[in-house]
Amino acid sequence: MDYLYLAIAILVLAIVAGAFFLLQGRGRGRTPPPQAPKGGPGGGTGVLEKEPAAPPAEAPVVTAPPVPEIELPPPSAGRLIRLRARLSRSQNALGKSLLLLLSRDALDDEAWEEIEDTLITADVGVVPARQIVDDLRTKVKVLGSRDPGEVRALLKEELLGQIGKDWERSLRTEPHGAQPAVILVVGVNGTGKTTTCGKLARAIVGDGRSVLLGAADTFRAAAADQLQTWGSRVGAEVVRKDEGTDPASVAFEAVKQGIADAVDTVIIDTAGRLHTKTGLMDELGKVKRVIEKQAQVDEVILVLDATTGQNGLQQARVFAEVVNVTGIALTKLDGTAKGGIVIAVQRELGVPVKLVGLGEGPDDLAPFEPEAFVDAILGDQV
């Protein structure tokens, strides 16, 4: 009975509403209004209505000059070494087997397929893997290289090409005038947003600047406590409210207090949300809009878990649509996961990876460097 009923209900609904949608869509001339200001029941609160009146007035004139790697706390140099050490610990397998294959005498189809498989195993994705292999194949053919060193150089170049050397990867964390820089941290559940916020705050404090944390994760149990713990470790203040309050209001308060206290950077931690939940994604959009009433959002960092497979691409896409992601933090790269999804995400969305998380230690966050990343993947010694 339920089945029947349900089917009928959906059918009727779809017949009536379906055409409605389509006509709607056509009527609007296929220009999706940014955030349907007509405001159905699902719309925003009264706060939003003022939005157009309060544009982020200052043009990006004062945009802080790119900060190369200043977010590192004192052991600046140590970070990269650790990055390399950690990466090669887990990922050498990839580089080694690739080189082994490449330096074989006869590179037959099977060998190439194996190379492709190896890349796929690194979560690079079928399409990018194929492209890398094809390009490499052509090059090897053209150059006739057989020397492992040469092939390695080619491979490195190829991987670098895929990751993209020329992206702007610095994090804008410097205040502009009286306004603090605002960093919004987003992502699906369990990728390490709160931890990344904590580490980032630490890094910025390490650079001698002040940070304010906004615990806009009002959903998960004890998320604000977790952030508070991070904050108290580095002496950063945390703006928080009771569980279940509107995250946008927490973000608003945080930025407001950030401006009042004249801190340099405000980092807003948000609740993990699956990109498929429209309601939650709308909520996130609201958080950003509300922040923009007071200050410009300098960075929207999407936290991606290195273990994530091809779904990561979908996540990145949806988040980029909703909050215009400006950078990616790839976490848990210290595990066996290869993080190959980086390649796919950059290819598809043009959003650069800016940070990598390499462990549970408080300073295990480093800026992403393609060269070091690839070097680590291929292994320095071979």
Binding site: Y3, I8, V16, F21, G190, Q226, L274, Q310
Partner: protein
Amino acid sequence: MFETLSDRLTTVFSSLRSKGKLSEADINATAREIRIALLEADVALPVVKDFVAQIKERARGAEVSQALNPAQQVVKIVNDELINVLGGETRRVRYAKSPPTVIMLAGLQGSGKTTLAGKLSRWFKSEGHAPLLVAADLQRPNAVQQLQVLGERSGTPVYAPEPGNGVGDPIEVARRSIEHAKRSQHDVVIIDTAGRLGIDVEMMRQAADIRDAVTPDEILFVVDAMIGQDAVTTAQAFVDGVGFDGVVLTKLDGDARGGAALSVRHITGRPIMFASTGEKLEDFDVFHPDRMAGRILDMGDILTLIEQAEKAFDAEQAEKMTSKFASGEDFTLEDFLEQMQMIRKLGPIKNLLGMMPGMGQMREQIDDIDDRDLDRVGGIINSMTPGERQNPKMINGSRRARIARGSGVTVTEVNNLVTRFFDAQKMMRQVAGGMGIPGMPGTRRKAVKAAGKKNKGKGKQRSGDPRKRAQETGKKGAPQQDGVPQALPPGLGGGLPGQLPPGFQMPDLSKLQDRKKK
């Protein structure tokens, strides 16, 4: 760009369907497509290779050459293999002979262990047990607090003698928790451990030590459904490091197709016992391998849909509606509004449609649907008087203008809604007429399908479409229009065989029938 496993396989099958016989080249093409599809769904490479090899083997065998329709056979093979890999039957929790039953959770960071602990405790409680949560994640900041909050929500006591945040010895906590449970008469102990990496020797040792200290009856490996190729390495590391008896797949409510389920199951041979499908404590279920396979094969996840519907729908209303429907009474806008609100309760309409069989191909159109449009439709209806809702025919020009003003839309939109509604009403009448007595809802559909399954089936299934298409062309007949409406009837009846991989509607439906008899 991004295609899910079911999309991909559907493409494969639709190209197969057009051919009479399966040649060696066909098999290879199919195998290649299945391989790519599985890889894109994050099934681990070694598993994919095995899987594809099996498919090829079986496709080449006698089964196909004897078959009437080779495409059906391939679909069947793929489905069988999927269910095979996913573990066939569902496994239940093993309770200890002498309580307490100890359950230990292990997994990577951020896979959802602590949340799962809360969900498990709620579940055990609803099964009539007295669970105890043990906070042995002393690593992550405030994991202990999180567990305490969850325990509070599920009404389960939490044993947390240590404050956490790096302080305290989890092994000791675990050991003492057992005594505590015995003392305080808890028959299930759920130990939440810290997230750890497979390669972290020290942490794996710690997990093994916890295991040795409490000798758990079940060690559950918690894994994120979104995990990629690393699933294999991680699962293997955990099998070697602590060993586990069952797997819990979390975050299944995302759109990851759960290739990890296939991988982990295949590599470790351990069954997937539970699935976690949301952030709330009640979003938790026993894992159903057959459903998962169905979902992957684009057969829709009708069973889950029904379960959700049962929870969300008001039984009384449903009853009223069904009897009304059966008695052939006219369907009013009031009923429609009611229905729409109930459906809204089920969650985003996109997800719902996605669960309907045959919807994989429509994914793009589905993605365009915005729930807010539904609310707008609701707004329009709400701007009508009760009389107008009962009898939409009375809505004339000036009423339309008033309704449009009241709901903040244009008159055209009101017009559209009303005209579409008449069509729907007409259709409801037809369907109701063809359905016969209530209580035998499947009969007609089944018959149609049985007919459709044999030879061609095209004539039958098309019959649904032209009718609707005629109606549609009556309305400004834009080519685009058949997008959504055409997609929907398959869920109901007529068009089903065309949308579903052939050979699948029968098992699926018979399951439904069984269910209803219960």
